[in-house]
Subunit: 463 residues, 2 copies
């Protein structure tokens, strides 16, 4: 990762190839599930960006270098996620869209906050959401998480785990115990992994000002972790707390765990401490983490929001969605050497140049190869063949084509990895399918090495 | 095109599908020619953005909503093109790159200028460049224009023409006539298409302060238009002006015209009035226009720049590159109805839902279809089949799958366009290849209608 401006990562061409293949893989899964693409503009009116709260200090405002004085009232800033923009977009274009809208959006966002481990000022995320004009059912929760799981399994990344919860359980539980403001409790219990049960208990007393028995009960709920639907049910019921919202949330989570567990039991875990920071979640919440790298931050997260896309009193478009942190994942897999491009360039063949006079011949061969879908380039100058082969080798181009003397499309093609050379006709020759396009290569040895000493680092702060 | 903030276009999902397929088509050609992908961050230091001159008023500066006072000296702005960033990137990462670098970059840029016809404040461009550590030859000029031509032919757009020139011809010619500052002359002659020969002649007298015979000679050169290499040579020589730089430029342009003309004579035209505004071009310059829509602005342009990527006195990386105006082209083809997506969603199949109890059955069918590469979705609620079919119809989903009573992967699949319905097994069923993915559909009738009354409009200013 290159960061000549702190927090604004850039890649070398070979790593950008990995990023593109990564995004292609994600996009393919989105489309298999019938999600349509969308992009929103980079800017939103400042008042829309401020609506969500908490993030005001992170916003990048735009100002024209030679701005007119009358522009001050139309302030716009760069979006800091893809949720605020889609909520605005669906309300604005409601009459032109078909609901339920299944859309995905793979785009950059910007946050002015201080760059740190896993946090960038510019980063790419892949979002997908179902947004409806009617009440969404738990089926949409399942569908969204099912797709997330498919995406994570299709990507060449460390093994993952999905952690799920339901905010209705937490809110119902806290209300059932007579806690008037659940928000600070949610936030504190969410830190269970980081500060431990003692830390959570203390903060519940001092910051959320709970009674000791309330704090203990909140901690008890937060400590429930299971992938077994019926165990989940009995553990929550054993707390003795009752509330209609709690019952609804529990029913939804039990269903979800059962539906997801059917295919990948060890990949999914209900963890009742999970709240996800954002205030707009109203039901199911979840995140994905690297299963064997527990100290690493989450790589995806999302949940149900019933009131985010709204205008006035009458219009309310409930939704559920996910954000996958592409830049955050790539920073790990590229920096740790887990993933690399199979070569530095798309070219599968370097067509050698015999002499300046015979350039037209090499160009004709290249044209024919391209017509047959083989990426290639013609060497620039009539250097010695040894130099031309070294050029291919440095970029990882697997094949060099030597044009025949007679100026035809025949010639000899050399696999420079094996040294094998054989006659070939540019009109019909095809590379092995694995060589045609650049591939992503997973390095299992590097992964096993990482597991021995999994310290989370990235280059965001190494300037 | 949706523009709830003036100059910041957004698309509906169906049009975003077209944009993606458009970009896929371009990317495929880039990769067939062995160009590697790259992205640069959205921001550059203000001083880099100001280097290029002329554009200072267009820059969007970034300011954090709650900025520290000490940040003023590190001002950054959004890039307004992809050329300034790549020039900075190659110098900065020179030791990590393999030269000659063949890179492409498909990204958004931002300009704070007033939105008008074909000019947006946020827009996507596709750039590709060859950047070398050594002198580039005319072969690179040819290769770049050859690739541009392939891209334009691969895209479903109105017929195009490439207009080529060489700045060395113009500079040598003006110097040969003893004109001390060729820059204003370049700029005025470049307007020949817009203001006509009388207008150019007058401005050469009044603004460039040329003598009448100098103005006439500059006009004579600017009026040369031909696609025949030898005619080009004789027309330029007949002016009687001689200069070594002129000879070099003419030789290069004659070669280029010959090399390009070999395959597509009517697609290429040398036009000696073409200068392209940007000061950094030093040789070959070119642009692409819609051949049958002459009033429409150029859709791509580029040229050779020998001094853009430089650091200090010693480092100079000559390059040649092109910018394709994706947003500008899409604004035309989508707004005029020339191009549309074959359906509104990636889903090829809607799997019907028989009843809530049998949802698992529909989900299993969908899973199997996806495993076989068929994009699909399951209908949300157990509505009447008629309603489910109408849902598919509204989105253009061609097939509806009715699960069999026995809960197996068998069922019936209906082509809702023809009404044909037949038994099918989700384990093996495949749609016709043309239906599997969304396609771009060109409407030749709409194009013929446009040709009858080709007034250039877009929605940029219709708010």
């Amino acid at each position: 990762m290159l960061t000549s401006i702190s927090g604004f990562p850039e890649w070398l061409p070979e790593d950008r190839q990995v990023e593109q293949l990564f995004i292609d893989t994600i996009r393919k899964q989105f489309e298999l599930f019938g999600f349509a693409p969308l992009e929103t503009r980079a800017v939103e009116p400042l008042e829309k960006l401020l609506l969500k709260g908490e993030t005001d200090k992170e916003i990048y405002l735009l100002r024209r270098l030679q701005a007119d004085p009358d522009e001050a009232d139309k302030e716009v800033g760069l979006h800091f996620d893809l949720t605020v923009p889609i909520a605005r977009y669906v309300v604005e274009n409601r009459g032109r869209l078909v609901f339920p809208l299944r859309r995905y959006q793979i785009q950059k966002s910007w946050r002015g906050e201080r760059p740190s481990l896993g946090r960038f000022r510019e980063f790419t995320q892949a979002d997908f959401d179902i947004i409806s004009e009617e009440e969404l059912t738990v089926q949409s929760d399942f569908e969204i998480i099912d797709l997330l799981r498919e995406v994570l399994q299709a990507l060449p990344i460390p093994k993952t785990r999905l952690i799920v919860n339901n905010r209705k359980i937490l809110q119902g539980y806290y209300q059932g115990m007579g806690i008037p403001d659940p928000a600070p409790v949610l936030r504190i219990v969410d830190k269970l992994d980081k500060i431990g049960s003692q830390g959570v208990y203390q903060q519940l007393l001092t910051e959320a000002r709970l009674e000791p028995e309330q704090a203990a009960a909140c901690l008890q709920l937060g400590q429930i972790k299971t992938n077994d639907p019926s165990e989940l049910q009995s553990l929550v019921q054993s707390t003795g707390v009752r509330h209609p919202l709690l019952e609804t949330g529990l029913e939804e989570l039990v269903y979800l765990l059962g539906a997801l567990g059917g295919t990948a039991q060890d990949l999914v875990l209900a963890d009742l401490s999970l709240a996800r920071g954002l205030d707009y979640y109203t039901g199911c919440v979840f995140e994905a983490k690297f299963r064997e790298l527990p100290k690493y931050p989450s790589i995806a997260g999302g949940g149900r929001y019933d009131n985010l896309a709204a205008a006035g009193d009458s219009l309310r478009l409930p939704g559920i969605g996910v954000t996958i942190g592409i830049t955050r994942i790539l920073a790990v897999v590229l920096h740790e050497g887990l993933l690399r491009a199979s070569r530095k360039t798309p070219s599968c063949v370097l067509v050698a140049l015999v002499s300046e006079e015979r350039r037209g011949h090499s160009l004709a061969i290249a044209r024919k190869l391209r017509q047959n879908g083989v990426p290639c380039e013609v060497y620039e100058k009539p250097d010695r063949y040894g130099k031309q082969i070294r050029f291919a080798d440095r970029r990882g181009i697997p094949f060099v084509w030597f044009p025949a003397e007679d100026g035809s499309l025949d010639g000899e093609v050399k696999d420079i990895r094996s040294g094998d050379q054989a006659p070939a006709d540019a009109g019909t020759w095809q590379p092995p399918e694995a060589d045609r396009r650049v591939r992503m290569e997973w390095d299992e040895n590097a992964y096993q090495e990482l597991l021995k000493n999994p310290v989370y680092t990235d280059q965001a702060q190494e300037e």
